[in-house]
C-alpha cells in the first residue's frame, strides 16, 4: 500500500455465530485510529466475504469467530480469497480462539490471531503496519 492512503480493512463474521460485540468494538477502535473499515454484518458466507474484500479493495480481512468453528471457517474464507485472484489481503482472526489453535490457523495462512482480551492497541498497531501480501 502507498504511505499516503489509509489502510482499508474488512471485518467479517463468517459462519452462523451471532456474537458481534467484539467485532464491532474492533471496528470502532480501527475507525478511531483512522483506518477505513467495512463491516460485513453477521452470517456471511466465505464467498460473500471474498467478494466484499475484492470489491472494497481491502488490505486486511479480519474474521471474528466465537463459536469454536474457527478452523473450518477460516480455511473456507482463505480458499475463497485465493480463488478471487489478485493479491490476497492479509487475514487475521479474532474471537474465542484457544492458544493451542493458533498454529493451525497460521498454517492455513492467517497472519495473526487475536484471542479474546487482546488489547485493542495491539490489533490497531498490527493492522496499521500490514497490507496485501
Amino acid at each position: 500500500m502507498s504511505a499516503s492512503s489509509p489502510q482499508r480493512v474488512l471485518i467479517a463474521k463468517p459462519g452462523l455465530d451471532g456474537h458481534d460485540v467484539g467485532a464491532k468494538i474492533v471496528c470502532r477502535a480501527l475507525m478511531e485510529a483512522g483506518v477505513e473499515v467495512v463491516y460485513t454484518g453477521l452470517r456471511r458466507s466465505p464467498e460473500a466475504i471474498a467478494e466484499a474484500a475484492v470489491a472494497e479493495d481491502v488490505d486486511v480481512v479480519g474474521l471474528s469467530i466465537l463459536s469454536g468453528a474457527h478452523e473450518p471457517l477460516t480455511a473456507k474464507v482463505i480458499a475463497a480469497l485465493d480463488g478471487a485472484g489478485g493479491p490476497r489481503p492479509e487475514v487475521i482472526v479474532g474471537g474465542n480462539i484457544p492458544a493451542g489453535d493458533r498454529e493451525a490457523l497460521v498454517a492455513l495462512g492467517v497472519s495473526e490471531v487475536f484471542p479474546t482480551s487482546t488489547p485493542l492497541a495491539t490489533i490497531v498497531e498490527f493492522v496499521r503496519t500490514r497490507g496485501k501480501a
Binding site: L16, D20, V21, L42, G68
Partner: protein, 536 residues
C-alpha cells in the same frame, strides 16, 4: 501514606447513578420515599412476586446445557437432574437456531458445536426420552426458529400423553433482542414479531400454562447496555409484544401472563438489586396503567437470573467460580424465580461436567447452608437499597420515555439505532476496562503474566457426531410420508401469506417429521430474510 478518612472517593454506577457514602431517611425521602416498597406478593411487587418467596419454594435451578446430538445431550440432562437440577434449559446448535438443517452448506462445521443439533421431531423425542415433563420444566433457548422448535416440543409432549392445557415450560422466543444481540434472527423485523404473536395467541388459547416468550435483557446487557438500559429495553420489548397481541384482539391479562424475563447479573451487586426491584415495580405499573391489566399473574415480573457471561474472564478462570457465587447471591437477593449460572469454564468452552456440577452446588449452598431462603427480601427497608431502587426506577423511566420519543423499540431496532447505541456502550466500557477505570480482577488488576501457560480443559468437538446427525436426517427423510410433509408445508406457506396463525400448520408439518430447515424455509419463501442495518 493512607488516604484521609474524611474524604470519600466518588462512586458512580454504570447506569449513571451517583452513589453517596451514607444513606439515611433524607436521601430516601428525596428519592421519592417509601411508598413503592409495598408487601411481597402484592402489586407493585417491589419485594418479590410471591408472599413467601423462597420460604415456600426455593428458586428453580436450571443450568443451560446441550451439545452434539440429542443422544449426547440426553446424557448431560440426566447428569444434571441426578445432581439436583430442577429444570432444564436447552442449548441448540447454531444451524438449528438459524433454521438450517444439519446438511445445509452453511451448517458445515457448526453441527452440534455450541448446542444440541435438532433437525426433526425425532431428535426432540430422543433428547427428552423418559424425562418427566410435568416435574422437570423445560426452557427452550430458541428464537429465530422458535415456531418450528416449539411446535416440535408440543408435538413431542402430546405424543408422550401430556395435555397442552396443563403443560408447563418456557420458550425464549424473544426475537427483538436477537436483532440487538445474539444474532440468530431469520426473517425481517415485522414478520418476526408476527410469528411471536402467533405463539402468544396459540398458547393463550391452547397452552395457557406455557410461557411462550422469555424477554431477554440478558443479551442486550451482554452486548454492551448498562443495567438501566438492559431493563428499559427489555420492558420496551415486552410491551411491544403486548401491543402486537392487543392489535390481534388478545386479552392483555392472558398475554402478559405468558411473558417471562431473562436478565443479566454481572457488575455491581447493589446496582443489580436496584435494577430488579425497580423493574418489577415498573412492569406492574406499566401494564396496569397503560393497558388496564388486572390479573396478578400478568403483573408479576417472573424471571431467570444468575448468568453473566460478560463478567467472566479468560484470565484466571478459577476466579469465575467465585464470581458465579456472588452472581448467585445477587440473584437470590433480587428475588429471582429461576437461577442459572455461567460455569467457570464458559468464557472459553462448553462447560465440563465438573464445572456444570460446581454451578449447581453453588446454588445449592445458597439454599441449604447460607440461609438465603430464611426470609423474604431481606434487603427491604435499607435506606441505601430503597433510595437506589427509586433512583433506578426514575432512570429506567427516563430511558423508556426517550426511546418512545424516538419512535419506539421496534423502529429503533429496524433502523439499527438501538444496536448502534448498545455497541457504542460496549466500546466505551472496553476502553474503560483498558484504561483501568473499570476494574477487572485478573485482567487489569492483580494480573498474572503466565496466562498462556495455563492448562484448561476444552470441550472436544466431535466432528463424527455431525455425520451421525446427517445420516440420521437422511434416513428419516426417506422413511417419512413425503406427501404429508409437502402438504403441511404448503399450508404453512398459505397461512403465512394470508396472515393466519402459523402454529397449527407448523405443528402438522413437524408431526409429519418436516425438518427445521423446511419449516423455516417455507416461512422464508413468504417473508424473506432479514437484512442487517450496518450502523455505527
Amino acid at each position: 501514606m493512607s488516604p484521609a478518612r474524611d474524604e470519600p472517593r466518588s462512586v458512580r454506577w454504570e447506569s449513571g447513578l451517583e452513589i453517596r457514602p451514607v444513606y439515611g431517611p433524607r436521601e430516601l425521602r428525596e428519592s421519592g420515599g417509601d411508598q413503592g416498597i409495598g408487601v411481597p406478593g402484592e402489586p407493585p411487587f417491589t419485594r418479590g412476586i410471591h408472599p413467601f418467596m423462597y420460604r415456600a419454594r426455593p428458586f428453580t435451578m436450571r443450568q443451560y446445557s446441550g451439545f452434539g446430538t440429542a443422544a449426547e445431550t440426553r446424557e448431560r440432562f440426566r447428569f444434571l437432574i441426578e445432581n439436583g437440577n430442577t429444570g432444564l434449559n436447552v442449548a441448540f446448535d447454531l444451524p438449528t437456531q438459524c433454521g438450517l438443517d444439519s446438511d445445509d452448506p452453511m451448517a458445515q462445521g457448526e453441527v452440534g458445536r455450541v448446542g444440541m443439533a435438532v433437525d426433526t421431531l425425532a431428535d426432540m423425542e430422543q433428547a427428552f426420552d423418559e424425562i418427566p415433563l410435568n416435574e422437570i420444566t423445560v426452557s427452550l433457548t430458541i428464537n429465530g426458529s422458535a415456531l418450528a422448535i416449539m411446535a416440535m416440543y408440543f408435538a413431542m409432549a402430546r405424543k408422550r400423553g401430556y395435555d397442552l392445557a396443563t403443560l408447563r415450560g418456557t420458550a425464549q422466543n424473544d426475537i427483538l433482542k436477537e436483532f440487538i444481540g445474539r444474532g440468530t434472527w431469520i426473517f425481517p423485523v415485522e414478520p418476526s414479531i408476527k410469528l411471536v404473536g402467533d405463539t402468544l395467541e396459540f398458547c393463550a388459547r391452547n397452552a395457557p400454562k406455557y410461557n411462550p416468550v422469555s424477554v431477554c435483557g440478558y443479551h442486550i446487557r451482554e452486548s454492551g447496555a448498562d443495567p438501566a438500559q438492559e431493563m428499559a429495553y427489555a420492558l420496551a420489548i415486552a410491551l411491544a409484544y403486548v401491543e402486537h397481541a392487543l392489535e390481534r384482539g388478545l386479552d392483555v391479562d392472558r398475554v402478559a401472563a405468558g411473558l417471562t424475563f431473562n436478565f443479566d447479573i454481572h457488575g455491581n451487586l447493589w446496582e443489580q438489586v436496584a435494577k430488579f426491584r425497580a423493574g418489577r415495580r415498573l412492569w406492574a405499573r406499566l401494564l396496569a396503567d397503560r393497558y388496564g391489566a388486572t390479573d396478578p399473574r400478568a403483573l408479576k415480573l417472573r424471571m431467570i437470573a444468575g448468568g453473566g457471561g460478560g463478567g467472566l474472564t479468560i484470565e484466571q478462570p478459577e476466579n469465575n467460580i467465585v464470581r458465579g457465587a456472588y452472581y448467585a447471591l445477587a440473584s437470590a437477593l433480587s428475588g429471582t424465580q429461576t437461577m442459572a449460572l455461567c460455569s467457570f469454564d464458559e468464557a472459553y468452552t462448553i462447560p465440563s461436567e465438573a464445572a456444570a456440577k460446581l454451578s449447581l452446588r453453588t446454588m445449592q449452598l445458597l439454599v441449604h447452608e447460607i440461609g438465603l431462603c430464611d426470609t423474604v427480601d431481606p434487603l427491604a427497608g435499607s435506606y441505601f437499597v430503597e433510595t437506589t431502587t427509586n433512583e433506578m426506577e426514575a432512570k429506567i423511566v427516563s430511558l423508556l420515555t426517550a426511546l418512545e420519543e424516538e419512535g419506539g423499540i421496534v423502529r429503533g431496532v429496524a433502523e439499527g439505532r438501538v444496536q448502534a447505541e448498545v455497541s457504542r456502550k460496549a466500546y466505551e466500557r472496553e476502553r474503560r476496562v483498558e484504561s483501568g477505570e473499570v476494574a477487572k480482577v485478573g485482567v487489569n488488576v492483580f494480573r498474572e503474566e503466565d496466562e498462556d501457560r495455563r492448562e484448561v480443559e476444552f470441550h472436544a468437538y466431535r466432528e463424527e457426531e455431525a455425520l451421525v446427525q446427517i445420516e440420521r436426517l437422511n434416513t428419516l427423510r426417506e422413511r417419512r410420508d413425503g406427501a404429508a410433509v409437502a402438504g403441511a408445508l404448503e399450508r404453512l406457506r398459505a397461512d403465512a401469506r394470508a396472515g393466519r396463525n402459523t402454529m397449527p400448520a407448523a405443528l402438522d408439518a413437524v408431526e409429519a417429521y418436516a425438518t427445521v430447515g423446511e419449516v423455516c424455509g417455507a416461512l422464508r419463501d413468504v417473508y424473506g430474510t432479514y437484512r442487517e442495518p450496518i450502523r455505527f
